[in-house]
C-alpha cells in the first residue's frame, strides 16, 4: 500500500469465494470447534471402553442402515463437489440443479438415519455405553439435520430470490459444510460399528 495516496474501493466486489470470503473463515472456525466436539466425544467413548471389562455392554449396532448411510454419504461427495464448482463458476442453472440433488440426497440420508436409530440395540438411558453411543450419533445427526435444512432453504432461495451473486458464495460454503458432515461421519462410523467388533470383549 502506498501511504499518502487515497484509495478508491468503489470497484471492489461485494462478495468473494474461498478464503477471501469472511464466510469461509466462519466455516473453518465452525468446523474446528465442532470437529473438536467429535474428537472429545470419541475420546469419551474410548475412555469408557477402557474402564469397562465388557465392551460393548450391549450388542453393537446392526450394520445394515448405518453402512448404507455411509455409502450414500461417500457417494454424495461427487454431486457435492459438482455443486460447489457450479457455484464457484457462478452458473445459476447448474447450481440450482446441484442444490436440488443435494437436498434430495440429504432427505434420503435423514431417512436412513431414522432407520439406523431403530437398530442401535441399546437405549440412551440403559447404561454408560448407551449414553455415549447416543451422544455420538446424536451429535452427528444434529449436523446432518442442520445442513439438510440449510440446503432446503437454499433450494427455495435459489428459485424465490432475492437472487444476487452472494448466493453463490453461500452455496459454496453450504457444500463445504456437507464435506464436514461426511468427513466427520467416517471416524464416528468406525467407532460405533467396527471398534466394538474388532476389539470385542475386554
Amino acid at each position: 500500500m502506498m501511504p499518502g495516496q487515497h484509495i478508491d474501493v468503489t470497484v471492489l466486489p461485494t462478495y468473494r469465494f474461498g478464503h477471501r470470503s469472511p464466510l469461509w473463515w466462519g466455516t473453518v472456525a465452525f468446523v474446528v470447534i465442532e470437529g473438536l466436539g467429535f474428537i472429545f466425544v470419541i475420546a469419551a467413548y474410548l475412555y469408557l471402553h477402557t474402564q469397562n471389562p465388557r465392551w460393548p455392554i450391549n450388542p453393537p449396532p446392526d450394520l445394515l442402515w448405518g453402512s448404507l448411510l455411509t455409502v450414500l454419504l461417500i457417494v454424495s461427495e461427487a454431486p457435492n463437489v459438482w455443486t460447489k464448482r457450479a457455484a464457484q463458476s457462478q452458473d445459476l442453472r447448474r447450481t440450482r440443479i446441484g442444490v436440488l440433488v443435494m437436498a434430495a440426497i440429504g432427505v434420503v440420508a435423514i431417512g436412513l438415519r431414522v432407520l439406523e436409530f431403530t437398530t442401535l440395540n441399546v437405549r440412551w438411558d440403559t447404561n454408560a455405553y448407551g449414553s455415549i453411543l447416543w451422544v455420538l450419533i446424536g451429535l452427528h445427526t444434529a449436523h446432518l439435520i442442520t445442513d439438510v435444512v440449510e440446503t432446503l432453504v437454499f433450494a427455495v432461495m435459489l428459485f424465490a430470490g432475492p437472487l444476487d451473486a452472494r448466493r453463490f458464495t453461500e452455496v459454496e460454503e453450504n457444500q463445504a459444510y456437507w464435506d464436514f458432515v461426511v468427513i466427520a461421519w467416517i471416524p464416528v462410523y468406525i467407532t460405533m460399528y467396527w471398534l466394538p467388533r474388532w476389539f470385542a470383549g475386554g
Binding site: V9, Q90, P162
Partner: protein, 351 residues
C-alpha cells in the same frame, strides 16, 4: 515497539504455559514427586517468555524518545513493580522455598506487587492516557503526579513490609497475633503504606471532579501518540471517522499527521471493508445486514426453550423447531447486495 514478533510469541507462550502451572498453588497439599517437578518446571519456564517481554519493553524505551509525562510515569512504575512481583513469584516456583513461604505474608506481598503493579498501575496509566480522548478534557498534571507518587510509595512500603514479615514467619489470613512476636512495627508501617495508597485514590477522585467542574479542553492528540484514535476529535463522534483512514504501519500518526483516506464505500448501505489476510490490501466491500427484530425474537425463543428445559428435556427437541424457523427468518436475505446471476454467470460471459 522493539521485538514486536518476539513479544507476540512470548504472550502466546505465556498463555500456553499458564495452563500447566496452576498446581504451584498446591505444593504444600502433598503432591506426587512427578507433579511437584512438572509444575515447578513449567512455573519457572514462564520466566523465559516473561523475561523476553520485559527486555523488549526496556529496549523499546531505550531505543525511543521517552516523554516522561503522566501516563509514562505509570507505565515505568508498572514495569518496576511488576518485575519485583514476577521475580518474587519465580522464587516461589521452587518447591523447597515455597514450602518455607507457603501461607506466610510473603505470598500476599508477592501477589500484590503483581496485581497492583501489573494490573492497577497500567489501568491508572490507561485512565490518564485516554481520559482526554474519552471526555475531551485534560486531567491536571500536578494532582496526577501527586497521586502517582502516593500510589508508588504506598505500594513499596506496604508490600515490601509484607515480604519482610513473611520471611520472619508471620502467617497470612490472621487478624491478630501475640504481642511477643516482633511484628508490630512492620505491620504499622504496612498499614501506613496502605492508607497512603488509599489517599492516592482520594487525590484521583479530586482530579476527576476538578476536570468535571473546571474543564480544560483536550487537544486532538495531547501526547503525540501514534494510535489511530488520536486522529479523531476529543471526544470522538459516534461514527469515529468521517472517512476511513488508511493505515500502513503500527504507528500511523507518526508517519503522517492526517492519514490518507479510503473512498468509495456506499453511504446508503453499511459496508465493512474486508482486506486480504497477509498483505491487508482492500479486497471486498462486505455489506452489513440492516437492523432487524429477529435477533431479539431469537433471544426470546432461546430463553423460553432454556427455561422450559428446566422442567422437561422435551423442550430442547420441540423448541428446536421454532428456533430453526426464527434462524431462517433472521438469516434469509432481504435485498440485492451484489450483481445478479445474469450479470456475472456464464450467460453474461457469452452475451
Amino acid at each position: 515497539m522493539f521485538g514486536y514478533p518476539a513479544v507476540v510469541l512470548s504472550i502466546i507462550a505465556n498463555a500456553i504455559l499458564s495452563f500447566g502451572l496452576w498446581v504451584h498453588h498446591m505444593y504444600a497439599t502433598g503432591l506426587p514427586r512427578l507433579g511437584n517437578s512438572f509444575f515447578a518446571a513449567s512455573s519457572m519456564s514462564i520466566a523465559i517468555p516473561a523475561g523476553i517481554i520485559i527486555f523488549c519493553w526496556i529496549a523499546t524505551m531505550a531505543s525511543g524518545r521517552v516523554q516522561l509525562r503522566l501516563p509514562m510515569l505509570w507505565i515505568v512504575s508498572f514495569f518496576v513493580l511488576f518485575v519485583i512481583g514476577g521475580l518474587s513469584g519465580v522464587m516461589l516456583a521452587s518447591v523447597p522455598l515455597d514450602l518455607q513461604l507457603t501461607d506466610t505474608y510473603a505470598v500476599p506481598g508477592h501477589i500484590h506487587y503483581v496485581l497492583l503493579g501489573g494490573a492497577v498501575a497500567p489501568l491508572l496509566g490507561a485512565l490518564v492516557f485516554w481520559f482526554p480522548k474519552v471526555t475531551g478534557r485534560m486531567l491536571d498534571t500536578r494532582p496526577g503526579v501527586l497521586q502517582w507518587a502516593l500510589f508508588l510509595v504506598g505500594s513499596f512500603v506496604t508490600f515490601g513490609a509484607m515480604f519482610v514479615l513473611g520471611a520472619s514467619g508471620m502467617t497470612r489470613r490472621v487478624y491478630t497475633y501475640p504481642h511477643a512476636m516482633p511484628w508490630d512495627t512492620l505491620n504499622l508501617v504496612a498499614s501506613i503504606g496502605a492508607w497512603t495508597i488509599g489517599a492516592s485514590f482520594v487525590v484521583l477522585l479530586f482530579n476527576l471532579a476538578r476536570a468535571y467542574v473546571r474543564p480544560v479542553a483536550a487537544p486532538v492528540n495531547p501526547w503525540g501518540a501514534a494510535g489511530l484514535e488520536w486522529a479523531t476529535p476529543s471526544p470522538p463522534p459516534v461514527y469515529n471517522f468521517e472517512v476511513l483512514p488508511q493505515v500502513a504501519s503500527r504507528t500511523p500518526l507518526w508517519e503522517v499527521a492526517q492519514p490518507p483516506s479510503v473512498r468509495g464505500l456506499r453511504v446508503d448501505q453499511r459496508e465493512v471493508l474486508v482486506t486480504t489476510v497477509a498483505e491487508a490490501q482492500p479486497d471486498m466491500r462486505d455489506p452489513v445486514p440492516d437492523p432487524s427484530i429477529w435477533p431479539l425474537i431469537a433471544a426470546i425463543v432461546t430463553s423460553v426453550i432454556l427455561i422450559a428445559s428446566i422442567f422437561t428435556p422435551q423442550a430442547i427437541a420441540w423448541g428446536a423447531l421454532p428456533f430453526a424457523a426464527v434462524m431462517v427468518a433472521w438469516l434469509y436475505p432481504r435485498r440485492i447486495m451484489a450483481p445478479t446471476p445474469d450479470q456475472v454467470g456464464p450467460q453474461a460471459a457469452r452475451s
